[in-house]
């Protein structure tokens, strides 16, 4: 049985209970760094079990966006390349046992293709449509990111943020919304 979360719990506790009191009172930098280290370990403890699901969520998002953008680009070489990239994303998502690295690599590739189009698309009208699609679709991703990092305690408006499980349960589902949002 994997005991990572239990281990992180113990390490966080010993840093707070044993290491913390040993730091000199006149060393606020060391105290600050210890507090931040504990804060991150506690965050990691509640997220580590979801790392693979997170990667799949991201890949699903980028695959959906690439499919949407390929439609805006039409039957152009860029559009066909984008459609191919989206299909590649779908293949990884439906491949049983796809590794975390494979999922992340494919996601990174899709992000790179999408970024290139936003940056380089020569037709102003098409580029404007792609920009709108990216911004509209990004609501799904930024909401997820806020949810993912919520345990870090920096979000001023936590009541706006849905539980991370509500996002991760969607991973693997196709986006059917026209706006991609």
């Amino acid at each position: 049985m994997d005991q990572t979360t239990n281990a992180l719990l113990g390490i966080s506790k010993t840093l707070a209970d044993v290491v913390g009191p040993a730091i000199r009172a006149d060393d606020p930098l060391a105290q600050q760094e210890l507090r931040m280290a504990i804060r991150y370990l506690d965050f990691l403890r509640v997220r580590v079990e979801h790392l693979h699901a997170r990667a799949r969520y991201e890949l699903q998002f980028h695959t959906d966006l690439a499919r949407r953008v390929s439609g805006l680009l039409g039957a152009s070489p860029t559009g066909e390349a984008m459609a191919g990239a989206a299909a590649g994303g779908e293949t990884v998502l439906t491949t049983p046992g796809a590794t975390l690295d494979e999922v992340r690599q494919r996601s990174g590739l899709l992000v790179a293709r999408l970024t290139e189009v936003v940056r380089d698309e020569p037709d102003a009208e098409v580029r404007a449509a792609v920009e709108k699609a990216v911004v509209a679709a990004s609501e799904r991703m930024t909401a997820f990111e806020r949810s993912w990092y919520l345990p870090m305690g920096l979000d001023h408006f936590p009541f706006e943020v849905a539980p991370v499980e509500s996002f991760l349960s969607q991973a693997g589902r196709h986006d059917t919304d026209d706006a991609g949002a």
């Binding site: 006149d26 060393d27 606020p28 930098l29 060391a30 105290q31 600050q32 760094e33 210890l34 507090r35 931040m36 280290a37 804060r39 991150y40 965050f43 966006l65 590649g88 992340r104 690599q105 494919r106 996601s107 990174g108 590739l109 992000v111 790179a112 999408l114 970024t115 189009v117 936003v118 940056r119 580029r127 404007a128 920009e131 709108k132 990216v134 911004v135 509209a136 990004s138 609501e139 991703m141 930024t142 909401a143 990111e145 806020r146 993912w148 990092y149 870090m152 920096l154 979000d155 001023h156 408006f157």
Partner: protein, 404 residues
């Protein structure tokens, strides 16, 4: 097929640095700082050795040996926290000045080997000297411009008394972000907060006023261009990933560069956490962290100060207090009254988008590179700040929905 690999940015070739200079021209000193940053990544491959308090003590000793004529004594040398980007050591110096013996509490403020915010101690000193007597600022004693006596460039100034947040709050624990001051302190601090910003922006900038900063041309987009190019360049130099959303923001910012109507001194990081105050009297005792200061468009400061990440939610849940101090409509009204300067919504919107973009550059790009290179003293703080990228990306997206 594999995703793009940005690990070459750990030690980018000289040709990359030249490409950055060509694609993103910016003000002279900023250009030099960014060139130096990449040069060091390329050439300084020695393992990082953290600065110790003993090393800093030794550097201080050598520095004062070379800069003071009479005898001196160093004591009470200790690290300071606060400030997410610089190493700070407090100490007491017993020395002689103008024939009189004295004992002063001072701070040496030094760059880390790799910072998420490459800035100039010389510029910071110049700005502090300009505002001495105008605002509560530390007295600058010495500057080691090139890091001759210290491991990196360093500034020595007076130690300032005061607190960055109330004693009884748990808010503002990360670099002063989101501080809850409470009604009584808000009423005392808010007027000073606005008054001081107005004083900074009213400062009479003339050609040659500053050695480290050139005024951008009024009636042109140069001020905005310099700031945008700086942010874009840092993103290209530090990032670990692509981002379509960042690219959309870049396109919009490029298409809508605002024209400068008046040259102002811009503090660059005017917010709670960067001023100290006396909790008993409610007086602001000092303004710190001028490292992002420049001369340019006042709207850069206004948009920076009013960011949600520095605010604190109102009790009624309807938005937030600017820097935890006052409602934004009250902030702008008082600012215009005190400064005599206008707030242009279009320019404010442009700089609001730019600032969100810049914070993302830092939290998504620079923080990653700094932690990866392992040449900083606050990596744990850096990784926690990464969480801010999620909030800021959402804010940037909301802004882009309105303008794209």
């Amino acid at each position: 097929m594999t995703a793009p690999d940005f690990s070459f940015l750990d030690a980018p070739p000289a040709s990359f640095a030249e490409e950055m200079r060509r694609r993103f021209p910016t003000e002279r000193e900023t250009d030099e700082l960014l060139v130096r940053k990449l040069q060091r990544r390329r050439e300084d491959r020695d393992p990082y050795v953290p600065s110790t308090i003993e090393q800093m003590s030794s550097c201080l000793g050598r520095f004062f040996h070379d800069h003071l004529e009479g005898p001196f004594e160093l004591s009470e040398i200790r690290w300071l926290a606060g400030g997410a980007s610089k190493l700070q050591v407090a100490f007491e110096l017993t020395w002689q000045r103008d024939g009189a013996a004295r004992r002063d509490r001072m701070v040496v403020r030094m760059d880390p080997a790799e910072s998420h915010n490459a800035t100039s101690r010389e510029r910071e000193a110049e700005l502090l000297r300009a505002f001495e007597g105008v605002l509560p600022v530390p007295t600058v004693y010495f500057v080691d411009v090139a890091g001759t006596w210290f491991p990196e460039p360093a500034l020595i100034y007076s130690f300032a008394e005061g607190a960055s947040k109330p004693r009884d709050t748990r808010s503002g624990a990360v670099s002063g972000l989101g501080t809850q001051f409470g009604p009584a302190l808000r009423a005392q601090l808010a007027p000073q907060f606005v008054e001081h910003l107005a004083a900074i922006h009213r400062y009479d900038v003339r050609p040659g006023s500053f050695a480290t900063m050139e005024p951008p041309a009024v009636g042109t987009t140069q001020a905005a261009r310099w700031q945008l190019n700086r942010a874009r360049r840092v993103w290209e130099e530090d990032r670990a990933e692509d981002s379509p959303l960042m690219e959309v923001a870049t396109n919009w910012l490029e298409r809508n560069l605002p024209v400068l109507d008046r040259v102002s001194v811009v503090h660059g990081d005017y917010r709670s956490g960067n001023f100290l105050f006396d909790e008993d009297t409610g007086r602001i005792t000092v303004w710190l962290d001028w490292e992002r200061g420049h001369v340019g468009d006042r709207h850069r400061d206004l948009a920076w100060t009013t960011q949600a990440m520095f605010g604190y939610p109102k009790e009624d849940g309807d938005g937030y207090y600017v820097c935890g101090l006052l409602a934004d409509d009250e902030f702008y009204a008082r600012y215009q009254e005190l400064s005599g300067l206008t707030v242009d919504p279009d320019r404010l919107r442009w700089y609001t988008v730019l600032n969100a973009y810049q914070v993302l550059v830092t939290t998504l790009g620079s923080v990653y590179r700094v932690v990866r290179l392992g040449k900083n003293h606050q990596e744990a703080l850096m990784v926690v700040l990464k969480a801010e990228a999620a909030i800021c990306a959402d804010r940037l997206r909301r802004m882009l929905v309105e303008v794209v």
